[in-house]
C-alpha cells in the first residue's frame, strides 16, 4: 500500500504467524482451527476480506501484493511458501 515503506525481511514462519493472527482476529477463529492445507474459503474468507488481507499484508511486508494472490495460492501453506520465496528475492 505504501511504496515509501522499506521492505521487511521475514521468514516463512513469521509470515505464517502474521496471517494466522489476522485470520483469527478477522474471522473470529480459534488458532487450532486453522489447517495450513485447507483452502482459505473453508474459513469463510470472502473476496472483501481477501482484498483487505493482501492490502494489510503488503503494508507489513513493505511492498504491494496482488489482490488475486489467495486465488493462485489458495491454502496457507502454498501462500506462505510463495511469499517466503518472493521475500528472499526482494
Amino acid at each position: 500500500m505504501n511504496n515509501q515503506n522499506s521492505i521487511r525481511t521475514v521468514t516463512a514462519s513469521q509470515i505464517q504467524e502474521w496471517i494466522i493472527t489476522y485470520l483469527v482476529d478477522e474471522l473470529d477463529l480459534n488458532k487450532d482451527e486453522i489447517d495450513v492445507q485447507a483452502p482459505f474459503t473453508d474459513f469463510g474468507l470472502d473476496s472483501s476480506t481477501a482484498v483487505i488481507l493482501t492490502g494489510d499484508l503488503g503494508e507489513w511486508l513493505g511492498y504491494d501484493l496482488d489482490p488475486t494472490l489467495l486465488l493462485d495460492y489458495p491454502t496457507l501453506e502454498t501462500l506462505v511458501n510463495h511469499l517466503a520465496i518472493e521475500n528472499q528475492n526482494c
Binding site: N3, S47, S48, A50, V51, P67, T68, L71
Partner: protein, 303 residues
C-alpha cells in the same frame, strides 16, 4: 431493398419503459470527479477493460480496444456512428480524428462526462445527456458501439425474463436505428460462474447501485432473430490486468486522489478494484465483446 427507410427513421412516440439504472445512480458513480478518474485511467480516459494482446502499456491496450470495436462495428470512414454510454469520449474522438467518421454521436447519463466532451467543441462530435431509451435520431446510423454501458441496462429489481425484455427493447431500438447490414460492437461485464445472489454487496450497493449485470444467455436471447452474433470473445483475464494497472496508478497518485475525493473514497476504489480482480480471475465474472450484425429481414414481427 429498403429505400426510403434507409434515409429516415419513422418518428414514433416514445412509449418505452426504461428499466435500467437511473440517471441518479449513474451520476453517483461517474460524476465523482473527472480529475480523480484522470489520475488512474490512461490518457484516452477509457474506463473499461482494455485489449492487451501484444500491448505493453495500459494506453496501448486501451487504444487496441477502441480500434477493435471500431473495426468490428464497421465504423471506419462511416457517415454517422452512435456510441451508447460514451464515457469521457475516447471512442468519439478516435472515430472522427483517426477513422474519418463524419458525425459521431455519444450518449451518456453522466453530466460530468457530457460537460467534459462538450469542452472540446468538436463540430463532428455530438454528445447528449440522454439514455438510449430517450434517443430519437433523425437519420440512421452506419454503426453502433457500446462499451461498458450494457451493465447498467437492467436494474436490480428485474427477474431474468424481465431483463431479457429490457435488453430486447434495446436491441429493437438499435435495429430501427441501423442501416441495413449495420453492426453493433458491444462490450459488457457478465455473470459467468455466479449470479446476482453471489455479487459482493459492497460492489452492488456502494460502487454500482441499481445495476444488475447480464448473463450471456440473456443477451443472446434478447438479440435473437434481429441480430446475428458474428464474433464473441471473452477476455476476463484482460480485465484483471486492466484493474491491476488502475490500482497501480491510483496507489502511485494516492495523495492527490485523497485531496480530490477524500481518503474514504480512495479506499473504496482500491477495495472495488481488488474485489473485481478476484471476480474476474476466479471466473465468477467475465468480460464479453460481442460483434452483432443486423438481420435486415427478420422473419417474424420483432415487436
Amino acid at each position: 431493398m429498403e429505400t426510403a427507410k434507409e434515409n429516415k427513421i419513422a418518428n414514433k412516440p416514445n412509449k418505452l419503459h426504461y428499466q435500467g439504472a437511473s440517471a441518479q445512480a449513474i451520476q453517483y458513480h461517474y460524476d465523482l470527479s473527472n480529475e480523480f478518474y484522470q489520475l488512474w485511467l490512461d490518457t484516452t480516459c477509457s474506463y473499461s477493460c482494455a485489449l492487451w494482446e501484444d500491448a505493453e502499456t495500459l494506453e496501448e491496450a486501451q487504444i487496441k480496444k477502441l480500434d477493435y470495436h471500431i473495426t468490428q462495428a464497421g465504423a471506419q470512414e462511416a457517415q454517422h456512428v452512435l456510441d451508447i454510454g460514451c464515457g469521457w469520449g475516447s471512442i468519439l474522438k478516435r472515430l472522427v480524428n483517426q477513422y474519418h467518421v463524419k458525425q459521431a454521436v455519444g450518449l451518456t447519463l453522466s453530466q460530468a462526462q457530457q460537460d467534459w466532451i462538450a469542452t472540446w467543441n468538436h463540430p463532428q462530435i455530438d454528445v447528449r445527456l440522454e439514455g438510449w431509451a430517450e434517443h430519437q435520431p433523425e437519420i440512421p446510423y452506419d454503426a453502433i458501439i457500446s462499451i461498458g454501458a450494457f451493465e447498467h441496462f437492467a436494474n436490480t429489481k428485474l427477474s431474468s425474463a424481465e431483463k431479457v425484455d429490457a435488453y430486447r427493447n434495446f436491441f429493437n431500438r438499435c435495429h430501427e436505428w441501423l442501416k441495413p447490414g449495420g453492426r453493433i460492437s458491444l462490450q459488457t461485464i457478465i455473470y459467468e460462474n455466479a449470479g446476482e445472489e453471489d455479487v459482493n454487496s459492497f460492489l452492488s450497493q456502494e460502487i454500482f447501485p441499481d445495476s444488475a449485470l447480464p448473463r450471456l444467455a440473456e443477451i443472446v436471447q434478447a438479440a435473437e432473430r434481429i441480430f446475428e452474433i458474428d464474433i464473441l470473445r471473452n477476455d476476463r483475464e484482460y480485465y484483471v490486468r486492466t484493474l491491476r494497472a488502475w490500482l497501480k496508478n491510483l496507489r502511485a497518485n494516492r495523495a492527490e486522489a485523497i485531496q480530490l475525493v477524500g481518503e474514504k473514497q480512495v479506499a473504496a476504489y482500491e477495495k472495488y478494484f481488488g474485489i473485481a480482480m478476484i471476480g474476474f480471475h476466479s471466473g465468477n465474472l467475465n468480460l464479453s465483446r460481442i460483434s452483432l450484425k443486423r438481420i435486415d429481414a427478420p422473419r417474424f414481427n420483432k415487436h
